[in-house]
């Protein structure tokens, strides 16, 4: 064995041990310093990083504000919708899982696969929606079989529901996912992609009030993104409640009366411009959009030749036909060219020149006609003659003061302006001067003249109230969560013309006779209890050749060439409250297709009103 002295007694070795110990201690000091650096100086920084590792913020969708009619009847609501989603991190055998799920829900595996592939960009902690709005029974099935469906969960989201189905769908508009373009706009600054926003009409115009405030869930997740527990939750606040001016009983009556016809109906409160009913048919089911419309459904809607997606009350432009005759009569009276007693002999046509002959709808003629008879029986020749004498520019001036020829200012959706032609307009548009023949056909609301149903209703309301054009409005009030009124309807006067009763009354009397006197064009639609006033109209879609007109019956004309049926009216005749304009596309005659619809609406409307009065009588006011 070694006979060396012990290391302790060897100075050289002893020095090495001391140096080694110092080095060891030094290195450990460096480690300690580094720990101090990380754990004392870096605490906040690393705790922040650690928090960001495990805390995720998940938005909770707020229920959109409910929509009520003027009487507080719920029109648009929310319901809980169950979405079957997958947590990607929990899914191990996707093929098997989708096979189980497709058997359970009777959904094609390919559909599930497609959803899965499409949503790969979603963050890992966000559930990936596979099947939306599955219904309660399917939801229960999924939950009962959760053992066979690892990684599948059922989420509950508020979804728009429409207790009245497709009623007034054009008024409410529909929802859709916010687009990339919208996200760039400042209005949508707080939105995230995938969220549903209002796309049209009420949902769009009142998006910021209806939308509500999304809640937030702070969840703790593990490294696989699995939610472990909720740390805190901010409850979502539902959107504000919107009360419409719509009377749902009237709206229903209107839609029922229009039945399967295409067309539009507008009912206004003549003294405030409140829209009591707004119908456009055919319609669409807004619920399809709320849950996400399929491409087939969308294709069907957009390929439909009757344009269900167009709000015809605002965007349908129709020749007003004979409903334009009040305008001509008023213009003639105002200009002083005629008096109510001015007589024109109707022989069945008016010959303007040798080659231009304009026919009255009544081939045999009306004989001697004054203003009252001309409106009541809708004599065309009287208006040809009177219109010619009055001139197109005078007619246009009155038309504009009655609300025609320009958007009415209805707050929802884009409105079309219709067209009231003038000499200047024609010069600008076509570079040619105005012809008398054009005045003639304009006088019966044909030719260039175009109106929207909303404009026609405004015209009727303006005649009824004596000359005030109210802006048509549809929101009565908006109530916030605490019940405070955020916004209240105020009538907005757009223009006012003080028509002389001398000029206005003969016209209104004649309109009353249209409905209530024997020989009036809408006599068949009169109501016993409520005397209402109106004017029928039949607008030609294509200029018919005289020969055709004689031997082709309306029923035999192809649908798209049939005349539009119109009716503008107000009620009650002596103390007007409500004005109604009806356009039935290709409905034939205004008297037979349009007037009965207005009749049905007045019946419904005043039945409700008298009901109210009865209630008032049962519970008399205390004063």
């Amino acid at each position: 064995m070694s006979l060396n002295p012990s290391p302790e007694e060897t100075p050289g070795l002893r020095r090495r041990f001391i140096i080694s110990s110092i080095i060891v201690a030094g290195v450990f000091c460096i480690l300690a310093l580094r720990l101090w650096f990380l754990q004392i100086l870096g605490t906040d920084y690393y705790r922040d990083l650690s928090e960001r590792n495990r805390i995720r913020y998940v938005a909770i969708q707020a229920p959109r504000g409910a929509v009520f009619d003027r009487n507080g009847i719920l029109l648009v609501d929310n319901r809980p919708a169950f979405t079957v989603s997958a947590l990607r991190q929990e899914v191990q055998d996707r093929k098997q899982l989708f096979a189980n799920l497709s058997k359970l829900l009777d959904i094609d595996e390919a559909v599930l696969d497609e959803r899965w592939q499409k949503s790969q960009s979603l963050p890992r902690y966000r559930p990936l929606p596979l099947v939306e709005d599955v219904g309660r029974q399917a939801m229960e099935m999924v939950q009962e079989n959760s053992i066979d469906l690892p990684g599948i969960l059922v989420e509950v989201k508020p979804l728009r529901s429409y207790p009245f189905g497709d009623m007034a769908a054009h008024l409410f508009g529909y929802l859709g996912e916010v687009t990339e373009d919208e996200l760039k706009q400042s209005e949508f600054s707080g939105y995230r992609s995938g969220e549903m926003v209002g796309k049209t009409a009420l949902e769009r115009a009142y998006e910021n009030r209806l939308q509500g405030t999304a809640g937030q869930k702070r969840i703790e997740v593990n490294v696989r993104g699995r939610e472990l527990r909720q740390v805190t939750t901010r409850v979502p606040l539902p959107g504000q409640q919107v009360y419409l001016t719509i009377d749902s009983a009237l709206q229903q009556a209107a839609e029922k009366a229009l039945a399967d016809n295409a067309g539009a109906i507008v009912a206004l409160d003549v003294n405030s411009g409140e829209v009591l009913a707004l119908v456009s048919r055919p319609s669409f089911d807004p619920a399809w959009f709320a849950r996400g419309i399929t491409s087939e459904e969308w294709r069907d809607l957009s390929n439909n030749s009757q344009h269900p997606m167009t709000n015809k009350a605002l965007r349908g432009q129709y020749p007003p036909g004979s409903t334009f005759k009040m305008v001509v009569a008023l213009a003639a009276l105002e200009s002083g060219k005629i008096t109510p007693a001015t007589k024109v002999y109707c022989s069945g046509s008016l010959k303007l020149s040798r080659s231009y002959e304009f026919r009255c709808w009544k081939k045999e003629g009306h004989g001697s006609v004054d203003l009252h008879k001309a409106i009541k029986e809708s004599c065309d020749v009287w208006f040809y003659q009177v219109g010619l004498e009055t001139g197109i520019d005078q007619i246009a001036s009155v038309a504009q003061r009655l609300g025609l020829g320009a958007p009415t200012g209805f707050p929802l959706g884009s409105e079309r302006s219709g067209l009231i032609p003038t000499r200047e307009w024609k010069k600008k548009r076509f570079g040619t001067s105005w012809y008398d023949g054009e005045t003639v056909i304009s006088s019966i609301g044909q030719g260039f003249v175009l109106t929207t149903p909303m404009q026609l209703a405004t015209m009727a309301a303006t005649l009824a109230n004596g000359g005030t054009v109210w802006r048509p409005q549809v929101v009565k009030k908006i109530i916030d969560l605490e019940g405070n009124t955020e916004w209240l309807f105020e009538p907005e006067k757009l223009s006012e013309t003080a028509w002389s009763p001398k000029h206005l009354m003969p016209i209104k009397n004649a309109m009353e006779a249209v409905v209530n006197d024997v020989g009036g064009t809408a006599w068949r639609s009169r109501l016993e209890k409520i005397r209402f006033a109106g004017k029928t109209g039949t607008a030609q879609v294509v200029r018919k050749k005289a020969e055709d007109e004689e031997d082709v019956e309306e029923e035999e004309t192809p649908y798209q060439y049939r005349d539009h049926a119109l009716f503008v009216s107000y009620a009650p005749a002596e103390n007007p409250q409500i004005a109604v304009a009806v356009v039935v596309e290709h409905g034939g005659h205004g008297s037979s297709a349009a007037a009965p619809i207005a009749k049905a609406m007045y019946e419904a409307y005043f039945a409700g009103k008298t009901g109210e009065k009865e209630v008032a009588r049962l519970f008399p006011a205390e004063d």
């Binding site: 050289g12 290195v27 720990l35 605490t43 705790r47 990083l49 997740v221």
Partner: protein
């Protein structure tokens, strides 16, 4: 044959210190793996058995006089080299490296055994050849070969971490034995050159590790992930720590390999700077006390043996801690006594046994 003085001089306190660290490690492992779904046998329990086996190993190693190892060293070394060659030829491959062979039904990692064997053979070489003048370059050729051959074989597996550790252990022993200044400078320069040249020989994943060590943000979800998550765990521990079983980095599994190589990160997150400094002090004590045992050994072989074991413990501790606190690149080196793993426990306890063996026989001839 059995001497009562052996019991008297057995360093019980040192063994208790080692067991104390191991128990802290088991508690830490309990926390680190608590989120695991029930396995057949919890990891912390298995580690408990390994500690038990470790104690048996210490006892066995202490039973015979370490001086017998002096003449056993050559056959041990030769046999170990043979095993390394067998590993390269027939070994079991896992995770891109071939490190294991089956020996009598037990999976054996010859590179791990080599850590101990290299200490023994170098202790013998230096105890015979060392002088206070220090080794010249030519005199270092022989120990260089002894060290270099197994290191090369292990690097071939490839197991860069173990190879480097063996070089570090041998290098430390050589430095302690004394190296002349000229040789030291020459080796330093050529080592640097070898490193630069060796860059091209490194595996891709090894290059990645070094590059991401220099800048972990380079690849935060890939190779840099370990370092970043570990630093977050250690840093968010703060002064007091988040409390036992309350570290979110470990409990929510953001920290990878948290019961093996990154066990210390779990401890740091939950016990804070206070706990870390205490544990650091324990480890420092283990090494310094080992040096003290070496200093007081009564022959050169025993001294170098103890020095070698100290070097082994020291480098393992420093490389692992340096890694988890972002001072050194990620090299798969476990923290002795603290990380889960039977292999590491057996090696460490064998080393501890050798230290205690040297310590308890310093009065005997």
């Amino acid at each position: 044959m059995f001497d009562r003085r052996l019991i008297t001089h057995f360093n019980w306190v040192y063994l208790l210190l080692v067991l104390l660290i191991s128990l802290i490690g088991i508690a830490n492992m309990y926390s680190a793996t608590s989120s695991w779904t029930a396995a057949a046998q919890p990891v912390y329990l298995k580690q408990f058995y390994w500690v038990g086996i470790g104690v048996v190993i210490v006892a066995v190693v202490c039973l015979f006089d370490y001086r017998h190892l002096e003449y056993l060293s050559i056959p041990l070394y030769g046999g170990n080299l043979l095993l390394l060659i067998v590993v390269l030829a027939f070994g079991r491959t896992s995770m891109g490296a071939t490190r294991w062979i089956g020996l009598a039904g037990v999976n054996v990692q010859p590179s791990e055994i080599m850590k101990i064997v290299i200490i023994i053979i170098l202790a013998r070489y230096f105890s015979e050849k060392a002088s206070l003048r220090g080794f010249s370059l030519r005199e270092l050729i022989m120990p260089g070969l002894i060290l270099g051959i197994p290191a090369l074989l292990i690097m071939k597996q490839p197991d860069l971490g173990t190879a480097l550790l063996i070089l570090c252990i041998g290098g430390t022993m050589a430095l302690f034995a004394g190296v002349r200044r000229s040789a030291f400078i020459f080796l330093g320069i050529s080592g640097l050159a070898a490193f630069c040249g060796g860059w091209f020989l490194l595996h891709d994943y090894q290059k990645q590790r070094i590059l991401t060590f220099l800048n972990p943000e380079r690849d935060p979800l890939g190779a840099g992930y370990h370092i970043i998550q570990s630093k977050i765990a250690v840093g968010s521990g703060g002064f007091n720590g988040l409390g036992f079983m309350k570290g979110t980095q470990s409990q929510l599994s953001f920290l990878p390999e948290r019961h093996t190589d990154f066990a210390f990160s779990v401890f740091a997150e939950e016990w804070g700077l206070i706990g870390c400094l205490l544990l650091l002090a324990f480890y420092c004590l283990v090494v310094l006390w080992g040096l003290h045992i070496a200093l007081r050994s009564n022959d050169r072989f025993g001294m170098y043996l103890a020095i070698g074991v100290c070097a082994m413990l020291f480098w393992h501790i420093v490389v692992n801690l340096g890694m988890v606190i972002g001072l050194l690149p990620v090299v798969g080196v476990p923290l002795p006594l603290f990380s889960y793993g039977g292999t590491s426990m057996v090696t460490t306890m064998t080393g501890v046994g050798l230290l205690l063996n040297v310590g308890m026989r310093r009065f005997m001839f």
